[in-house]
Symmetry: C3
Subunit: 245 residues, 3 copies
């Protein structure tokens, strides 16, 4: 059983965060929260997300799973206006999600969840921690897009650097410790990442002011940020690209 | 003879209403009003429109006919800014419409009217009447577009329903009598319509707050709405799509 | 040596003015000003531009030449927000332009200047002078675009006319002497120009309120306008199209 009312912007943000990696996802509905975990088809990146029932206007659920076509769901959410409240209900018999906005009822067929991945989040020891304004990340990916197709994250005890190097051009962001919200780094670390994934992740972080980045040397990066006005959180995990020197 | 001054938004609305069905139309200019009637090339829909001379800043006309290429006319109207007044004059000798906005003069060749249809509006007995907010229609067509390519209008003495049914999905608007401006229905009626026509019609209703819908069972629908700030009115007539049950 | 700080809008305007004619241009940096001259590949039009050091927040330069890829430069300028200040510095050793905005550093490879044209501005005797609001020019090119691919500039001692004639349609702007900021014309003159060039020039004039047009009979037109908030000026020269009568 799943029955809830929610402001459309909460669902829009959630769909935005997950749909950069997959077109269909399993929504795991629990008594107290909604969870989504997904890995992209190329197995380069993963997303993990939870939204507390407090983010909803109303929320009533037993444990259940909904297979959602995110592209179709996004189209339905486009029908809403600011100030609307969406009522959602799972019709288990027909495996439909029934959405109501104003006088409109929209029934959306759900996807079979057995085909949807249920990724195991790996246990990683990431020794470096940086807390940075999301706005700074957005600026550096914009500057990097015309330069190269990868990006390097580099930390020392004193500063955090994001660098993109092309054949003749380069773009970089350099932030010393006092310009960051937090920098916790014992010894230097550097990893290279595909720009397209990194860029999509940064662009999907729409409401969180800061991002917590956990890193290592030639190791994945973990990006944690809040969603749903602080009533939820999300984590991206992105595999490094190994440099051939 | 035809000579007039008018705010561009009046002409823009008129062109929008007619151009969803035809690219060229005959403007029948009368002493007291401007009339347009047109039927679409597939003979599925018809529009009938009149704008009173009160909608114009100045209006002087004998009875005459102008063959207007609506696409070209729309391009000329795009040159205007809010607050502009367009002066129009029919140059009968050259069969041109001469338009002046500010210091710009734009002469537009007219189309031969003999090739343009002059549809007869059929005399229909449509027993059901619904008066509904245009905004509600806009919402339901938006919700229906991803679901199916047709739409059903259904009335009972108690409620009015617009339904779109796809293979697995559906969208509908249900409005009970008290939520409508008017519902006059003795016995149930239902007709099916092509969504693209219905949708274009609803989208072209831009300034009228309400739409009066006249319907029957497996019968055309007539949609009446005001234009030109109440100084004109327009009617769409749309043929039903016969269901194969 | 070249080192400067400047508001992005100054550079954006400059790039807009030059890039309608060429993709790469030589920036000649002098002690007191920045100069650009360029001719388009078809040798139909020329631009000449200077921006005084007063237009910059900071400006320090010896005489030098920078070969700039305007398309790439424009992309970098898109990264800026209103209120930003760009710091620029020429790294002569690597022949790079180093741009800094906030915490971002963007290094842009420069182009070899030997391949870039250094046009000689011809000495022309253009007897007619018209000073007109840029807004009027913008309106008439918009009206002309659907009519023809050329435009005639015509002057008499009493009025200035811009005319576009198609097979059946026409668009024109007629301004009598008192409607212009200035009209200095002893005897009538008329020249025909390609609309695409003329249109791109007019659209690139974004901040100057007026344009000074110098003309003759079947002669080029020279358009002078201010840039950089009055701290710079620019001139377009456009060759006429000879009419076959």
């Amino acid at each position: 059983m799943f029955k809830a009312k929610v402001k459309p912007e909460v669902l829009k943000e959630l769909v935005e965060v997950v749909s950069i990696l997959v077109d269909e996802a399993k929504f795991t509905v629990k008594k107290g929260e909604l969870q989504i975990k997904a890995v992209d088809p190329a197995h380069v990146a993963m997303v993990e997300l939870r939204v507390d029932k407090k983010a909803f206007e109303e929320y009533k659920a037993d444990e259940s799973e909904l297979g959602v076509n995110l592209l179709k769901f996004r189209d339905v959410l486009k029908l809403t206006n600011p100030g609307d409240v969406i009522a959602m209900e799972h019709n288990e018999e027909k495996n439909q999600l029934v959405l109501k906005v104003g006088n409109i009822t929209r029934k959306m067929a759900l996807v079979d969840t057995t085909g949807l991945s249920d990724p195991k989040v790996p246990n990683l020891n990431l020794p470096v921690k940086v807390v940075i304004k999301a706005e700074e990340l957005r600026k550096v990916i914009k500057a990097s897009e015309s330069v190269s197709d990868h990006i390097a994250l580099e930390t020392s005890p004193e500063e955090f650097k994001i660098t993109s190097e092309g054949d003749n051009d380069s773009a970089d962001l350099v932030m010393s410790k006092h310009m960051l919200n937090e920098l916790d780094c014992k010894e230097g670390a550097r990893s290279l990442f595909p720009l397209d994934y990194f860029s999509n992740m940064v662009k999907a972080i729409s409401t969180s002011e800061t991002v917590t980045m956990l890193m290592g040397n030639d190791y994945p990066v973990k990006m944690e940020f809040s969603i749903a006005g602080g009533n939820g959180s999300s984590t991206y995990l992105l595999a490094p690209r190994i440099e051939n020197d």
